[in-house]
Amino acid sequence: MATVAAVIASTHHPFYYRASTATGVDRPPFADEWVAKIEAFRETLTRARPDVLVMVGSDHFHQLWLDNMPQFLIGKAPFYDANFSNEEREFGLPRMFLRGDEELSAYLLRQGLDAGFDLAFSNELRLDHSITCPLITLRPEADLPIVPIYTNIFAPPLPQPKRFVELGKAIRELVESWPCEARVAIIGTGHLSLELGGPRQFGPHGPDPEFDRKAIGWIASGDLGSALAEVSLDSLWLPGNATHGFMDFMLMMGVAGESVKADYSDSLDLFHTMEAYFTWYPEAAR
C-alpha cells in the first residue's frame, strides 16, 4: 500500500514568484524574509522523499466556468499544462508543464465515487496558480507526477465546509489504500482571510487578523471541532470576500486528521494577506 509521506497545507500567494526572483531596486523589502521562510518550508517536503504529489487547489475562473461548474474535480490526464496568459500578465508566472499520475487519478476517482463523492473529472485540465504556486514554493523542480484535485471555493453555490473536511478524510484513506508502494505527499493550498475586488483589499495586513490568528490555531492543532463550529458558508464572507478559500485548509485538516498537531507551522504577516505554512508527518511515514 502507498504511504502518505507528508500532508502539507499552505496559502498560495501568486506574488511570491516575482518577489523571490526580483533583484536590485525591483526587489521588495520583504522578499528576503519571505524566501527564507519558503526555503525552510520546502525542506519539510524534501525531507519526506515523495514519489507522487496529490495537489488540492481551486481554479480561479481560468478554465472552469459558470456554464458548467464542478464542485469537486479530479484531473486524470497524463500531462498538464499550467498557468494562463492572464496569470503571466498579472503575476509574471511562468508557463509550466507537469506529468500526471493517471493510475492514482483513476484510483481516486473510482474509489471516491464508490465512497459517496460524485466527483467530476477532466481529461484536459490546465492548472492555474493554486497548483503552480505550491510547486514553485515546495518543489520548484516540478519533477514529480501529480494528481490535481480542484474544489469550488469561488462560485456560489458552494459545498458546505463539512463536505470539504469529509473529502479530505476520504482522500487520506484512499491514498493509504492505493495498492502501490509509493510515497505520496498530499498538498493543498487555500487562504486565510482575504479580500479581492472589495473595499478591504490590499491593506497593510490581511483584512481580518483576528480570524487569521484563530484559523492558524485551528490548523496547527488540528482543531476541526472549533473550525466546523465557527465557520459556515455565511460566516466566511465576514473576514473578507475571498475567505471561502479557507475551506481548502479545512479539507487539508481532514487529510491530516482530527486533533493531529502539525509538525511544522509558520506564518508571515505580509501586506494584503497572512501567509501560513503547515506540515504533518503521518506516523507510518516517520
Binding site: H60, D67, G198, P199, F202, N241
Partner: protein, 120 residues
Amino acid sequence: MSTYLLNKFLYTIDRDPELVERYRADPRATVTWWEAERANQVLNLPAGERSTWLTFTDTEREALATHDYVKLFEFGAHPFLTLTLFIALFERDYDEPLGFQREYARKLSHISLPYPDIST
C-alpha cells in the same frame, strides 16, 4: 439583473489580450459588439449553436460602457473577475506598485457588509 452575463463579459474579455486592449480603448463600442456577437455564444459549443436570450439591462450595459467597476460590484459581478480585468486595463496608468488596486479599494469604501450577492 443578468449577473451571469456580466461575469461572462468580464471572463471572455480578460482571457483575450486583444479584447482587453479594445475594451480599454473603446469600451462602449466593445460592449455593443460583444453583446451582439458574443453574449449568446456558448463557450463550449460550435459557433452555430448559440443561446438566444442573454442580454444586458440598460444599467448593466452602461456600467460596462463607462468602466464603472463600483457599479459592477454593486450589481454582484464576481469581484475576482472585475478586479483581474480592471488591473489589466488600468494598473499601467499608476506609478506606485498597487496604486490602482488601492484606489479601487478606496472607491468601494462606502460599501459595508453584507456585500451584494454574487451567486449566479
